[in-house]
Amino acid sequence: MIKETVITVLASASILTGLVFFFGAALGLARFPDFYTRMHAAGKGDTLASLLIILGFAIYQLNHITFSLAGLQTDWFTILVIIKLLSICAFIGITSPTGTHALMDAGWEDGIKPHLKSDDANDLAKDIARK
């Protein structure tokens, strides 16, 4: 009984934290003034939030496994599901920053100008002009 409570609380906390980060990502995507800042909000918030939510469901799957002193008595089916969920976590953790970086690079090569304050110099202006 206490095991179920602990697992459910951990999983719920992970999922709720993920929701907060998803909210931040959506807000940043809608409100930021610039292509690069929007990319920043979208890339970071989205990666962490998906990781946390899927991790929460992986933790909840532990409910189906019976731990005992004699060892792990379980169906291997549940363990396979947990491994698959963790592999989704690993996959998103690797590919989401890669995709964000590739899109950001494409935007820079495309000549999208960053949003600057009027008295700020763009140190990379020469790099844009070279293109």
Binding site: F23, A26, A30, S50, I53, L80, I88, F91, T95, S96
Partner: protein, 102 residues
């Protein structure tokens, strides 16, 4: 229905609501790559949503495979789009026409 099931359903509902700002960015986005990023975000949310649906119908083993395949397709799509934009250097001007830089 346990408390955790209700939490899962409401999580799915809020994920669906959070797709609306991304969709708004797709409609409004000044540059083409803004739109691609927003589509990428919606795809990631869909992969998470598939896991939640699998929990709801007690068929995690099946829906987890769907989510993995969806995440892979999403990544491939964004990468292909970024390579395309890199090579072609297309640009949308104010009238919405797509012109190619020399």
């Amino acid at each position: 229905m346990s408390l955790f099931d209700q939490l899962a359903i409401w999580t799915g509902f809020f994920l669906f609501l959070l797709m609306i700002p991304a969709l708004w960015r797709v409609i409004k986005g000044p540059t083409t790559i803004d739109r691609i990023v927003a589509i990428n975000i919606i795809g990631t949310k869909t992969a998470v949503l598939l896991v939640i649906i699998g929990h709801k119908y007690q068929k995690e083993a099946m829906f987890v495979d769907f989510a993995l395949a969806y995440a892979m397709l999403n990544f491939l799509g964004s990468l292909a789009a970024s390579r395309f934009m890199h090579k072609c250097q297309t640009k949308e001007d104010s009238s919405g026409e797509i012109t190619t830089k020399s």
